[in-house]
Symmetry: D2
Subunit: 254 residues, 4 copies
């Protein structure tokens, strides 16, 4: 979790005047105390914290509260779910960013580190070639990414839990079903699927690193690679990103 203050704090920098500088330690204590009163969905807790800090700090213009929520699921024994034993469900996490200003509040939700992979229906061909091109065209490659999505909600009075799951389902469904001509192409289809399926989302940004899996050349060992043996390379990798807004007039920075 992170809390970011932006405001009229110039003299704290120029003169070391701390009279309006809320210490990190106090922010931490405030988070604990308000969490004990009412926690709720991460977006709701971000709104609560935003209101609190604005009401207490006259120099504060805008406060950003960013929350990462690690999902846990109950352990089960046959059909029975244990009452107090849990296992982390991951590696993806749920994120929420609430930007609260005096006259304006923006609620952004997201998913971090969703590792997804397509072993078919993924191509990359038709790209420009020059004297530095060595990459072969492919009609059948393995496509893997660790997706980060962030989306802005139309307003702050929606059901944050069920909407988050609806966005996640739309992303996974479109990723699985897409005939991919490139990471860009699939990213666009996924973002569009969210805007079509979830009316509460006014804008969505996807960041998808291309986690390259290169087919190994086995011909020098007298073997054929039937598109089965890949080496996952760390670097270099392509990092593709785009933001889609429902309304051209209204795009804002995500």
């Amino acid at each position: 979790m992170a809390v970011r203050f932006t405001g009229d704090y110039e003299t704290s920098y120029t003169e070391g005047d701390n009279r309006h500088v809320l210490p990190t330690d106090t922010m931490k204590n405030t988070v604990y105390a308000l969490a004990a009163v009412e926690l709720g969905e991460p977006e709701a807790f971000g709104l609560t914290l935003g209101r609190h800090f604005l009401s207490r700090n006259p120099r504060l213009k805008k406060v950003r509260v960013a929350i990462t929520d690690h999902a846990w699921r109950r352990l089960t024994s046959g059909d029975r779910a244990h009452g107090h034993a849990f296992m982390r469900r991951g590696p993806d996490t749920r994120t929420a960013i609430v930007d609260s200003a005096r006259e304006d509040t923006t609620v952004i939700a997201g998913i971090d580190d969703l590792l997804i992979l397509k072993s078919a229906h993924s191509a990359f061909a038709g790209f420009p070639r020059d004297e530095y091109t060595t990459l072969p065209e492919t009609r059948d490659r393995l496509l893997a990414t660790s997706m980060t999505a962030t989306w802005r909600y139309r307003d702050a009075a929606i059901d944050f839990g069920s909407t988050w799951y609806a966005v996640r389902a739309a992303l996974l469904e479109s990723f699985a079903g897409h005939d991919s001509l490139s990471v860009q192409h699939t990213l666009y289809a996924m973002a569009q699927a969210v805007l079509e399926a979830v009316a509460e989302v006014s804008e969505i940004k996807l960041v998808m690193p291309n986690k390259h899996h290169l087919p190994v050349d086995l011909s020098k060992f007298g073997l054929e690679n039937r598109n089965e043996i890949f080496v996952a390379t760390e670097e270099p990798f392509g990092l593709i990103e785009a933001t889609l807004a429902r309304d051209r007039s209204g795009p804002r920075r995500l």
Copy 2:
């Protein structure tokens, strides 16, 4: 994946004689080539690699092949599982270590980074107190760990896949159901549960860091902490480990 050679390689160190030093690059190529022929369960592939390297390298006395298997599950659409779209299932991974020597083979399987948590039925009390003790006793604490387990199999001719899942189930079931008096206490119960449930396991080692979640003192803010608000601390942490063998005469190093 890691391959470790131990053998009569003294002159490569003392004289720079590389005549028997198989390059890392060749090991890598060998892994790719043999994987293309037959991959199978990680333990089986480790056995294949061990036999191959021993047969080719006369100075080699013992080779350890360590494999980490990242689990993926199919994406689903309603009841239908997609044919070629997957999501990482994590954060825990399946590990296999095969030690192959000329006259002896040991197969070790394991789980890394299984994040599990009990929100009740966990206590820590009755410990010694001296002038440096500040920890209060507790009958109701949050117990969380990132478990690493490794276990040795009785022999190398078992069903590695179903046995691995049986061990994992025994670990989770005993963790969930245990009335914990300490991490040590629960660790022992989990290891014992595996030895009781899975006859193929002759020895098991568990390593369980105590991922401390300390209750926050809210009384100074006029609030009560109903065992709900914890701060997860990184350091210091307790790291508890033990090895249980079925047969006292036969414990070996895991």
Copy 3:
């Protein structure tokens, strides 16, 4: 190193049209080939790459080249420096970011991860107190940070090497000599020192996490802490940042 393209690539997203999408693999090869011809200072190499990519890619509007340079120093034997043996000098690294557009080029240099510490002349007091405040005021605390600095150069025809060292010296000198009333206060003094000392810098941004070192309360063990025993905490931490520009009319995003 990272290369980022921004331009008219809409159809690659909407239609999977790759005719103008330069593959990551080609970018990588281009970097190797151009480095073999002439490498030079990181900023100069970024300019070369920018010109190259703009000249070859008609849809490209802006390309950002970001380079991280790890410093190595020669090993020495008495007074003699070895000709071909080196040790990493760290942990800080030198960074360069070159933004090349059709009509405009911006050269940004920087330092990442400079770990610096003041064991005296650092205070934090006079901050506001409310019901969630537990932090005591202090006139003598340990101040530690892992500084990241980025600064924009007035133009692209300067001596990048000696200027970088001049900025680094100004930052270290002002950090060491400052009577710190807060991280903000020292950060401002450091940025101002750079603008005063190095005419080539038109704007500088500093990011300084407060790597808290909390004095341990030893009184419960009957001991006094003479400001010697601290515990370094990871979280939560304050993250202070600010950008200073020479010319109010000209601030740009760093």
Copy 4:
């Protein structure tokens, strides 16, 4: 820093009997309290802690104290060193491990993460070739490693500070001056140099990952690579290790 207890703690596992289990939290407090009394060199502090824990815990058979010491150097202004401003000197760290038992104490010192590189006088040739070999022989390669060294001292009554620097100097000097036929070859020369130069060391273990820097094939771009352009690969990498003891009869596990 880590403290590891080994002893008669069986009932804490089998019965949850905590009467002899010193909490992690108490260990932490003890470290702070004893550090306030006298800290000294890391090895000396490890000895102090070992004695303390053995005297207080009757079930304890052996305690290992492992310490990592991050080096800082004073910032300077011209010839003058600042009294209270420091910069981390890295990335290597100094380590100390003290194993204290009732009748026996072992002091081990070490260096972690020393990044060193030779741009000449490094070869790798004459290795065996089979159908999976693709690596070319080379008489002039770049050799880089992140060395970890640990060495055992003859006894516990030596000058730990100056001896540590003497070992470090011997390692760097032999690395720089060696005509390397392989990582193994250089590792052996370095370990031998330490045993020859520093009488206090009875045994030394070196672990040297081969941080491969592969020359890029520029011929396909019509360019020659004059052994200048390398790509640093992360995986796979060779990990070379060996232990040299002064006295064959006395080797112990490091």
